[in-house]
């Protein structure tokens, strides 16, 4: 679900749906799900599959943050936990190739989320970060959450 402002736009690339993150304006997209009851409290690693729209050099800095939806959270206001950034992720040297970048969250960094609870995960590109040097859009194909 895109935020109401500064959202990554849905685009099509060779009939793959991608979320296009701008190179100069920070944009986000929110993913919602329920934390698996198999989660054992060992922290969560977010995996991001992405491509460069046109670049064949440079790097992207991703950021992500969690918002727990327990029975005491008012969803009419945002309450995301502190974001965690990726290292600068190098763009593939060939246009159209996929890159895989991870961000590891400790159990304390997922906003106190418990198994069986609904959540939002906001994924953002940080074009103003000194490590974000890639020209053009970064296109997310998909995200994976797995226990670290």
């Amino acid at each position: 679900m895109p935020p109401s402002t500064a959202f990554a736009a849905l685009a099509r690339r060779n009939n793959h749906f991608v979320l296009a993150y701008d190179a100069t304006t920070s944009e986000s997209c929110d993913f919602e799900s329920i934390l698996s009851r198999r989660y054992g409290g060992g922290g969560i690693t977010l995996g991001i599959a992405w491509m460069a729209a046109t670049a064949t050099t440079g790097a992207v800095v991703w950021s992500a943050q969690w918002e727990r939806h327990d029975t005491a959270t008012d969803l009419d206001a945002d309450s995301f936990a502190t974001a965690v950034n990726s290292a600068a992720a190098t763009a593939p040297g060939t246009s159209g190739f996929t890159a895989y970048t991870t961000i590891a969250f400790s159990n304390a960094q997922i906003d106190g989320l418990l198994v069986g609870e609904h959540f939002r995960l906001r994924v953002t590109r940080l074009p103003a970060d000194s490590g974000d040097t890639m020209s053009g859009d970064a296109q997310i194909l998909g995200c994976e959450c797995r226990e670290t």
């Binding site: 190179a23 100069t24 064949t56 020209s135």
Partner: protein
Amino acid sequence: MAVLSDQDRADVAAQFMQEAVGPIPILKTDVRAAVDALDSWYNTNAASANQALPPAARAGLTQADKAFMSNLIVNKRYVKGS
């Protein structure tokens, strides 16, 4: 006319990165440096380009129309599919 403002140059760089066909093998900072350099070059050579026009066009066309004509020529020469 002076060179573009910093914000205008940033806007041009952003639009280029959004709309260029690619692949683009240079960094964001290189894109911006190229925009700055081209804008400065246009500023330096605008008078020379105007002098290249025949007298009727030089006197009769507005600055905007001369720029539009230049844009059409550049696109036809260098941009694929134009």
